[in-house]
Assembly symmetry: C2
Homo-oligomer: 240 residues x 2
DNA sequence: CTGAATTGTGTACTTTGTACATTATATATC
DNA sequence: GATATATAATGTACAAAGTACACAATTCAG
């Protein structure tokens, strides 16, 4: 308890220079849904310690850059996308997590439409890897991926963000399949339909699937306006 | 797009020294429930820029210290508590958030039993402030507090963490009241009871409230073991 | 003994979730 | 153009959970 009165950054003017010795990075966990499979965008590491292993897309934070802006920049530079779902997940601060020194990293979760991305993709070293097939990763990136996936599983049940993984117009089958892929469960098709329709968040765009070799389904779009209306009535209820 | 092939911390061995120029801190949002009111533990800032304003309890991250460990240390040093609910909330990284330079901070949410705390409290500059009465705060601490409160509201509905704010033995009235304080809603007393009993998480300790000037209620404790049993059955359902 | 405050209990009703089967429509193949 | 294949679209019965609501019982204070 002798440290109780120790000078403190929040309360006392102290000489801070010796404390400015950390590096910060952002790492983006970029999820995409492609050919019925949940994938994440990875890059091969060239660092000696992790030669050939897969790592997340990240970069060092710049001295005059907001943390959130850094994650956005990484997304923009690497994928060319400028408008995507992007949200901070967590900061990983184990002492020896990076071989170059004390580098802490803040993980960001991004949801992109793979179809959009493919149009602008330029970098060959990047690869969409099915989440279920990923084994070892560089650094603590496996931990970061697992953490982000858990956050994603929670969030898609609480907010209608899953539509960011699909094209503007989608079939109910696709929508159900993304949910099932991410949550690792199966829903009854008829009850899923009923549930989604009663949310009032789907707009029937009066178009049908094309080029499927079976009866085509209707296409829907996510009704953002309807969601803005209802989301104020915050859900309150215990569910543990 | 010219930056696509820029050397990158995850993929390329680069000289990192010039990048190690950030300071990191942790700030703890310590919630307590006292006399029917949700409070947060604050300290007056002595920094010239924020003289006399309230700030969260925080400290700089040390060079060889895990981020999570730093938050735990702050709690221990300031309150004497060594065993409390403590969880990372978010990292705040606006460029000018600290007058001393580029200091990013990671916020941690702590839930403590005020009764436990009072036994060990030594530091006078600390004060429990009712959350509803807090106005301006130093730095971006108001934003951090608001963010943490929102996270708290979500989490108490998803996990039985609220018991960390109460004593080991508590009445159903107390339990309901903490929920209502944090969520800002009122529950029907009878339905709340029914709901809590059906969770199977309450153990009747066969004791009654003491020194209340009305019919005393039974006391219960949180059944951690029962929770471990049921929490594996992860809830899956859409609720937006 | 009475009033004040709060506990403890139960029922009817509404809403939501779950299980489950049949007909309809498009494409591919023969 | 008939048939097989695949999936769309729909509805009902039942179970579970949530909501609204009223009354008797217990303790304390005066």
């Amino acid at each position: 308890m002798e440290e109780l009165v120790r000078p403190n950054i929040n309360t006392t003017p102290v000489e801070l220079m010796p404390d400015f010795q950390f590096a910060l990075s952002v790492d983006c966990v970029i999820f995409g849904y492609d050919e019925g499979v949940l994938k994440v965008l990875l890059i091969e590491s060239d660092l000696p310690a992790y030669k050939g292993q897969w790592s997340l897309l990240g970069d060092l934070l710049r001295p005059d850059e907001d943390l959130d802006e850094a994650s956005y920049r990484v997304l923009r530079e690497r994928t060319g996308l400028t408008d995507m779902f992007l949200e901070q997940v967590k900061t990983f601060g184990a002492v020896n997590r990076h071989p170059a020194g004390r580098v802490l990293t803040t993980a960001y979760l991004a949801l992109v439409n793979v179809k959009d991305y493919q149009l602008k993709k330029k970098e060959n070293a990047l690869q969409w890897k099915p989440v279920s097939e990923i084994q070892a990763m560089a650094f603590d990136h496996r931990l970061i991926l697992d953490t982000s996936l858990t956050v994603l599983q929670r969030k898609i049940q609480e907010e209608p963000i899953i539509f960011n993984l699909l094209e503007k117009k989608f079939s109910l089958r696709d929508l159900q399949h993304v949910f099932e892929q991410i949550l690792g469960v199966e829903f009854d098709r008829r009850n899923f339909r009923k549930k989604l329709f009663t949310t009032g968040l789907l707009t029937d765009v009066n178009e049908m699937e094309q080029q499927v070799r079976h009866r085509p389904g209707r296409l829907y779009s996510f009704n953002q306006k309807a969601y803005e209306q209802i989301k104020r009535k915050t859900f309150v209820g215990l569910q543990f």
